[in-house]
């Protein structure tokens, strides 16, 4: 168990550093799409929601909570990605290509 926890924490810390590295270079004109794109990624919690709603061994209340979580996370994921795509489609250069 100790090793398992350490391994998860290790992943966590590395990912935080990676996030800092990736984002610091983004120009300010892309901040809104970046934010809403990141927002859509935070909908990854849908994985946890699916497991909670789908596990046959779960008691009814956990399944219900999981179901609501699936609804919320789906809103987050589809809404987030589509809105970001809509925004980015508008960023055009002079020559008209994206």
């Amino acid at each position: 168990m100790q090793l398992d926890l350490l391994y998860l924490l290790f992943t966590f810390v590395l990912a935080i550093f990676l996030g800092f590295e990736l984002i610091s270079k983004v120009p300010s004109q892309l901040h809104t799409p970046l934010m809403s794109g990141a927002n859509a990624i935070s909908g990854i919690t849908i994985v946890g929601a699916l497991i909670a709603a789908g596990n046959v061994e779960n008691p009814a209340i956990a399944t219900f909570l999981g179901f609501v979580a699936v609804v919320c996370a789906s809103i987050n994921v589809t809404g987030g990605y589509l809105v970001t795509d809509r925004m980015l489609a508008m960023f055009k250069s002079k020559s008209g290509k994206k």
Partner: protein
């Protein structure tokens, strides 16, 4: 191959796609593809999860259909000017989902913990508490931010004036007070606010400690900490004023990532931990950038309404503003060979972005060099103005950042300020007593001529006087920003 290994490998693939997607979001040319790659990563993660042993699909399918429809319809329908409140809203649903994942796991596993928690599951218990706490704060905090951004109290007020009688008016009157109390875009402050918040936060931690000590027996403290998390989300957000919204949205964005991360620790799932921390980190960086652009610390934004920390008094602004008519402004612009637009939230309010682009195009045909200078905190969310100008088909090469325009400002013939105020206030540079002293600004006052498009002489969000308006080279073009710009456009056309 063993199915579990296949699932874990798919998670690695989707984590890679997220990382790659975020990287590509960093440049205009690749951003759209980047977003789609990250969506593909999400799709793979979802499909892989469906392969997990012993799943029933009826609730999953129902949930995905309901949520997916709501999300799709909302995303396709919203106006670009309402983008900040929708990003806040979507963010809130993510936070709520993480809270519910934590809660569902608690319900499912608490029977197994009645004889004490095995050592290897202790991390799950702590993570459940954190997912509920961070997710709850994200959820209600985002709702309040969304309400403030949508200016709901203002809409209620304006409805009330029109329909003074009848059931609608009665209803509006009934909700006016609580709505105004929480959703006013001005900071909502009261005496002892920080003490109340600290006490409640301490209470949450106590409940959390009790819960971790004996999760099976401490159901009530768990529910109490859930409720307190929701209350804290509200209390943390109400003292934030409209102009500070870019900071708080970035911060809530970061929280939603951390909540997903906590949910990842609950179910020991690496893809949740990786993507959650990526989002958490990105939110923190944006928060930092926004704070820097306002020359304020995060603590200052979070705990004090604007200006309450300054003790020195600002110099009062002496002099008289010189108004100009649209016709005279047109003659000046016709002779200009370089023009810079500086948009602010007022441009979004007046929906003037299309008219502005039209004017920009006409100026360019007239031989002038046209640029759009955007301050990092202009508008209500990071990069808000850029999205609006992009919507109006302004090519992104014409959008310039503050640090690139300031050095050449002296060569600019006309700077046109549209609905911006604090971000072009020279007091931030010169007047040590000003509450916004030290905030980096776009130095429009160095341009040869400045036109300020403004409704009236009202002070900006921060309530600070702006010496720019009475400067020697400034001319005020009063009226609705969109109409003023359209008047200039018709000047060029005739």
């Amino acid at each position: 191959m063993d199915k579990t290994i296949l699932i874990e490998l798919s998670y690695i693939v989707s984590a890679v796609l997220f990382i790659y997607g975020i990287k590509m979001l960093g440049s205009v040319d690749t951003a759209r593809r980047g977003n789609r790659i990250s969506a593909l990563g999400m799709f793979i993660a979802v499909v892989a999860t469906l392969l997990v042993q012993g799943m029933q699909y009826q609730y999953i399918v129902a949930g995905v259909i309901v949520g997916g429809t709501i999300g799709t319809v909302a995303a396709l329908r919203i106006q670009m000017t309402s983008m900040p409140e929708f990003v806040a809203l979507f963010n809130g649903t993510g936070g709520l989902a993480s809270l519910l994942v934590g809660w569902a796991n608690y319900q499912a596993r608490m029977d197994g913990w009645s004889e004490g928690v095995p050592e290897e599951e202790l991390i799950s218990v702590v993570a459940i508490f954190l997912a509920v706490l961070i997710g709850g704060v994200t959820f209600t905090g985002s709702l309040i931010a969304c309400g403030k951004l949508a200016e709901i109290p203002w809409h209620i007020e304006s409805r009330l004036k029109k329909s003074e009688t009848g059931l609608v008016a009665l209803l509006l009157k009934a909700v006016r007070w609580p709505v105004k109390l929480t959703l006013d875009s001005k900071p909502v402050m009261y005496k002892g606010q920080q003490i109340v918040n600290s006490v409640l936060f301490a209470l949450v931690l106590v409940c959390g400690a009790a819960f971790v000590y004996d999760p099976a027996g401490m159901y009530l403290p768990f529910l109490l900490s859930l409720v307190l998390a929701l209350v804290l989300g509200v209390l943390f957000t109400i003292p934030i004023g409209g102009a500070d919204m870019p900071v708080i949205i970035s911060l809530l964005n970061s929280y939603s990532g951390l909540a997903a991360c906590a949910a990842g620790f609950v179910i020991s799932n690496t893809v949740l931990i990786v993507s959650g921390s990526l989002v958490g980190a990105s939110g923190i960086i944006l928060t930092k950038i926004m704070c820097k652009a306002m020359n304020r610390s995060l603590a200052n934004v979070l705990f004090s309404g604007f200006g309450s920390t300054t003790t020195k008094t600002a110099k009062s602004v002496q002099g008289e503003a010189k108004p100009i008519t649209a016709e005279d402004a047109y003659y000046v612009l016709e002779a200009a060979s370089s023009v810079v637009f500086v948009p602010g939230y007022g441009m979004a309010m007046a929906q003037a972005q299309h008219a502005v682009r039209e004017l920009g195009d006409l100026l360019q045909e007239n031989g002038a060099e046209v640029k759009y200078a955007v301050h990092p905190v202009a508008g209500r969310m990071p990069g808000h103005m850029n999205v609006l100008l992009a919507e109006a088909n302004v090519p992104y090469e014409q959008l310039v950042e503050m640090d690139d325009i300031n050095p050449i400002m002296e060569t600019v013939d006309v700077a046109i300020v549209i609905g911006a105020n604090d971000v072009v206030n020279p007091a931030a540079r010169e007047d040590e007593g000003s509450p916004i002293y030290g905030m980096p600004i776009i130095n429009v006052d160095y341009a040869k001529t400045v036109f300020v498009l403004k409704r009236s002489m009202r002070a900006g969000f921060a309530g600070v006087d702006n010496p720019l308006f009475v400067a020697e080279n400034t001319r005020m073009l009063f009226g609705d920003a969109k109409r003023s710009v359209e008047a200039l456009v018709s000047g060029f056309k005739s």
